[in-house]
């Protein structure tokens, strides 16, 4: 008989509304290999041990942003977090903090998507352009103005990290505000006027208390804290210029 290989304990906070009134911890023992992500650990549970465990995932390579969860209390993409870094275990896994749990590790994303749609996360051309006029050109310096903020994969880890969002779910939040900045800072875009009211609102940049944990947990190095705090300056300018011209000095 072959020696049993190494294993690791994974504890998952389960919540099945058809079955439980409140979340309960459940412990699984999973075979461990050095290259296994937390997601692969969960997939082993679902495939071999307990098909009732529900979680979201898709790409397994930190592009789709769907496998965010709390791993040992920290917001992480489970595909990009490795069991080898969490030895000896047990590894404790919960649904992303600050979001309503639908079931097990699946949280409700509806409110987040509404906020995302509200900032018009797409280029709004300054002037209509015909095909004959060709493509928009951009210098490397202009690209650099927003490129970092375009790496957001909407994984919501920054929301789970944000104490302010935990207190006030109405707060637009780091991810959405970083994306708002990504479009406002793009030289091809003319949608600033439509986005400034969201930025300026009580639940826009001014709700941020500059904790900065959002940037620490961001798996794509977007640095939403930087985007939000740059826009406190923009919002203040917009406010004062409003006394001089009706549109806050915007053309």
């Amino acid at each position: 008989m072959s020696e049993p290989g190494p294993t690791i304990q994974i504890e998952v906070l389960r919540y099945r509304p058809e079955q439980e009134d409140k979340p309960v911890w459940q412990r699984y023992t999973v075979p461990f290999t050095d290259d296994m992500s937390v997601l692969q650990g969960l997939q082993h549970i679902k495939d071999e041990l307990d098909g009732t465990l529900s979680f979201r995932w898709s790409c397994r390579m930190a592009i789709c942003g769907s496998c965010g969860m709390m791993v040992n209390g920290k917001p992480e993409l489970s595909c990009k977090t490795f069991l080898r870094d969490l030895l000896p275990g047990p590894v404790r896994i919960e649904a992303l903090a600050h979001f309503p749990i639908e079931r097990d590790l699946v949280v409700s994303v509806g409110e987040f998507v509404k906020k995302l749609e509200a900032i018009k996360p797409y280029l709004i051309p300054k002037l209509p352009r015909t095909l004959a006029e060709g493509e928009y050109l951009q210098t490397p310096a202009q690209l650099e103005q927003f490129e970092q903020y375009s790496s957001c994969i909407n994984c919501m880890l920054c929301y789970a990290a944000c104490p302010q969002f935990g207190l006030d779910p109405g707060f637009a939040g780091p991810g959405v505000l970083a994306l708002l900045h990504r479009y406002n800072a793009d030289s091809r875009d003319g949608g600033r006027d439509e986005r400034m009211p969201i930025l300026n609102a009580e639940e826009g940049v001014w709700s941020c208390t500059a904790v900065g944990y959002c940037s620490e947990v961001c798996p794509k190095h977007v640095d939403p804290a930087n985007a939000v705090n740059q826009n406190k300056v923009n919002s203040a300018k917009d406010y004062f210029l409003r006394f001089l011209t009706p549109k806050g000095g915007r053309p």
Partner: protein
């Protein structure tokens, strides 16, 4: 283990031009491509083929439009290369949306009663899976056996013998799929139920691939045979393979025309042979001017 050596490009260029590969290597493998070769192995990247669609993304089923990785709109040929998905992204998404919207505003409502019956039948088929007690087959086991069989028969190099073995295996798995038993009998966020439904579709698509590959007695694009059909055969096989769903049996394979506007099929050669082919191509193009 095979290694991909990118060290000659240097860190700055790698970070600028291949940021995603750089990040994956560092964060997933702990390998810095600027200082060490990256271990690599072949993997399935993309399905070359899909729901057949015309230039407006309309499928052969009225009202169904397909776009993206599920679609075969006819622009990719026998070997879709990396990043050619940009065409899907930049062109056909908009086309599909506009075409589907046009169809939706012009089409008359169908027969509601008949549609209701179809919907009930579909619901009952899905419910049968989640309600089934016993059967004993596990989703992951069947999925793994399918993937291994596709790797063996429809991997990089192919022969009639290995492809036939895969076709036989898929038929067996399709039978066993009828006996899939789920742990989860609940109705809310039951992702195991979804996996069970998907398994049936995976097997349908695998059959379409394996049977069309077995019928294609030539080598072309990513379809490389080693059993006497090593060459491209434009006389008999410059055609799209069309797989028709037949229910529980294997798909029926037929052929449809290929439209070539600009790029004629050619040999993909590497090294010295590749340089010679490139020189000949240039001479040919110059002489046409």
């Amino acid at each position: 283990m095979l290694h991909l050596d990118l060290r000659h490009l240097g860190e700055q260029k790698l970070r600028e031009r291949l940021p995603q590969i750089y990040e994956l290597a560092v964060e997933y493998l702990g390998v810095d491509p600027a200082t060490a070769p990256i271990p690599v192995l072949p993997a399935v990247h993309y399905t070359m083929g899909g729901i057949i669609a015309d230039g407006s993304t309309a499928s052969t089923l009225t009202g169904l439009y397909s776009v993206g990785e599920c679609s075969s709109v006819g622009v990719h040929g026998a070997n879709r290369l990396g990043s050619n998905s940009l065409t899907e992204l930049l062109v056909f998404g908009k086309v599909a949306g506009a075409a589907a919207a046009r169809h939706a505003v012009t089409v008359a409502h169908g027969n509601g009663a008949a549609l209701g019956l179809l919907a009930e039948a579909a619901r009952d088929r899905a419910l049968a899976i989640v309600l089934r007690q016993g059967g004993g087959e596990r989703i992951a086991t069947l999925r793994r056996e399918m993937a291994q069989s596709m790797e063996d028969g429809c991997g990089i190099y192919r022969s009639a013998q290995t492809m036939q073995a895969t076709c036989d295996k898929l038929a067996e798995l399709k039978q066993r799929c009828q006996r899939v038993q789920v742990d989860d009998h609940s109705r809310g966020w039951n992702t195991e139920w979804l996996l069970a439904i998907e398994l049936g579709y995976l097997l349908d698509v695998a059959q379409a691939m394996a049977h069309s590959a077995l019928h294609r007695k030539e080598s072309r694009g990513s379809h490389q045979r080693l059993d006497g059909f090593e060459q491209r055969d434009d006389v008999n096989f410059l055609q799209h393979s069309l797989a028709y769903f037949t229910g529980d049996d294997a798909p029926r394979i037929a052929y449809g025309p290929v439209t070539i506007t600009h790029s004629q099929p050619a040999t993909r050669a590497y090294g010295a042979a590749g340089e010679q082919a490139e020189a000949e191509r240039k001479t040919r193009e110059t002489s046409h001017v």
